[in-house]
Symmetry: C2
């Protein structure tokens, strides 16, 4: 169950090239998704990457597990103060310029590193790591294809259990339990400070239109102000569009997907809007071509929606709570690069994995839309990682 | 569904006393559990508490929701740079000494505040907030009592579904889905950097004994190295002790509880160890008396285990992966103060809510133990918030 050593070597080598290009002697990584990516273990470790030479995995807890899981080997870490001597003990020089993850590292912990390396210049390397991780290897994409196996089975199960009188929460509980039993890892990693996520949004009717702190077009009302996302305790009514926007994780790799269900029928307008969302998804997928910038693709999609649909005011939210993206990177975390967003200048590269999610929000009525996780490939557009019939499921 | 205004006022007043005692002019809080605690909304807000006067809720997203949810009112925040003028616009002076949450605030965000307040002294107020939040009000304890209603129903359901041939993951999926449908909020907040948690550990036999990065006596093997906690895909065998150690959340308030199940029977030794764990829980509960220190209680329990059981080497883990606590604070977060741990000097105060979890780990065999969430009350010992029959459930 190890991450293959050639994967870890390739990841380290790419990052070491970056370090040398910036005059950084080494980087000390502590954020879980980053240390997992580079070390192959999700145990509590510090990962030290020198600009040349073999990286070192310093393990707080659990040592035996990290040692078994990381092909780099492992060294026990009993306290932060030991880090300099453990680096030197591994035959590596101490850095004069040290990279740290400024975007996530808490101030108090940062101050402890500063005391440990009092004469060392500390630099932020988080942007480089995020850009590197945005481009997935063939091995990583295979893991995401495995994760993509879960959603279609959950959707097929939803078809068998959806019934009048059911609450959003009852539906969510059944789908979440089913996804878990099918091998969904459960915990969803996010990088952004304060980001909170649990399974996804199983939400219907006007509850689906209520915006929240979470930066997405569909969040759900949630159960209380204290957990303002996902299913509510409201009954799903006949004719309400039901959104099943969920994340499945296998071996740490996430895919994000959305399909629609309804009890009874939906209005012709909602069905028309959903057909447009599917059309936009296809336009977006084809526009994700290497060499283009994400902002350019975003503008193109927004222009298409304005010129070809009557719902441009409803696209990706309504009023002040509209979000300014139509897709986001996904991988070990749900909020990866690139974002297909207004003004973004990221250049698309083969291997970038993006959840594209054109959605229309009709205040007081509901949300219709679709979402798939795709990988940037060639001039023909991105390829689907997630798969499931597009048709709305009527129960 | 608002948090009552008298609650919010009492919380702010208590914290303002602290600010004045330390010569701090105001605190700018951004961490979700802290802003929820003080503002009553879990939207994305900055909460500014002046040392005297009315606090200000500055809202990034979603404004309408925050305004409806917080009794303090709400002011839109369109960018960090606006914070000083919004403070002044609320009739408050700009601080000369400003408190921030150094334990969680990322360096990059901290640097932005430093630029916004270039002449201001920045101080860490996270310890004071954690100490304040450790002591719950009557209103908060009522919310935890509501959360405590879920577990006994999940346990009764477990009794009806547990069957030979079931995997840990199948059992977990059913229990998790059931808990959710019964109103468990799902997302579990933790404060510690890198802490990850999903529902809990539904784990049996030797998989339950495998330590992991998570700082607890029972973590579970998990599905893969990438998510090393909770259920595995292994079949639960006859005679293996099954641990159901899960967290339920209502209105943001969590309770933590553990009971045992088994298919067939358990060995006499495991049953004896479990009976001892229940006895230790009672000793621990009675020892949680106002005025005592947590380290003192910890030592007393460890001494009792050493003198009265043959399993002191198995208590709270085995070998190097043993944890050094027997209880932890719980509330809006799972890793609150106080911890009943070696050398801890926190003084017990009525209203502190603690998950006490005496457990024995037998390598290669399994874990037996119990856990309940209790509230420190008076000289008779802490009172149970969680309730469920102690008896092992045999299927």
């Amino acid at each position: 169950m190890r991450v293959p050593f050639f994967e870890l070597q390739a990841r380290a080598t790419y990052f070491q090239d970056y370090l040398r290009s910036q005059g950084i002697d080494g980087a000390l990584l502590v954020q879980r998704a980053d240390t997992l990516y580079f070390s192959g273990t999700a145990q509590n470790v510090h990962f030290y990457v020198p600009k040349t030479g073999r990286p070192v995995v310093l393990v707080y807890r659990d040592f035996a597990r990290a040692q078994a899981e990381s092909s780099w080997g492992a060294i026990p870490l009993t306290g932060l103060s030991k880090i300099p001597e453990l680096i030197q003990g591994s035959g590596l020089p101490l850095p004069q310029v040290l990279g740290l993850e400024f975007d996530v590292l808490p101030v108090a912990q940062f101050e402890r590193y500063r005391k440990l390396f009092p004469t060392v210049a500390l630099k932020d390397i988080s942007g480089a790591i995020r850009r590197q991780r945005a481009v997935k290897s063939a091995w990583e994409i295979e893991r995401m294809q495995e994760a993509a196996e879960i959603y279609p089975q959950v959707l097929a199960y939803a078809r068998t259990i959806l019934r009048p009188g059911m609450t959003e929460l009852e539906l969510e509980g059944l789908l979440e339990g089913k996804a878990r039993a099918l091998g969904n890892g459960g915990y969803v990693r996010m990088r952004g400070f304060g980001s909170e996520f649990h399974f996804g949004a199983v939400t219907a009717g006007e509850r689906a239109t209520i915006p929240s702190s979470f930066d997405g077009p569909v969040v759900g009302q949630g159960l209380w102000p204290e957990q303002p996302a996902g299913a509510s305790e409201a009954e799903i009514r006949t004719g309400e569009p039901i959104v099943v926007d969920t994340v499945n994780v296998v071996r740490g790799y996430q895919v994000d997907q959305t399909r629609m269900l309804a009890i009874g029928d939906l209005s012709e307008e909602l069905k028309k809007a959903y057909a447009l969302a599917c059309e936009i998804e296809e336009i977006l997928r084809r526009a994700l071509v290497p060499g283009r910038t994400t902002g350019e693709v975003y503008d193109e999609v927004l222009t298409w929606v304005k010129e070809n649909t009557p719902y441009s005011e409803n696209f990706m939210g309504y009023g002040p709570s509209r979000v300014s993206f139509v897709g986001h990177g996904v991988g070990l975390e749900l909020d990866e690069l690139p974002t297909i967003s207004r003004g973004a200048r990221e250049v698309l590269v083969p291997g970038m994995v993006i959840a594209i999610e054109p959605k229309f929000v009709f205040p007081g009525v509901g949300v219709v839309g679709i979402e798939d996780t795709v990988v940037v490939a060639d001039a023909d557009g991105a390829r689907f990682i997630t798969k499931a019939p597009q048709e709305i499921i009527f129960a």
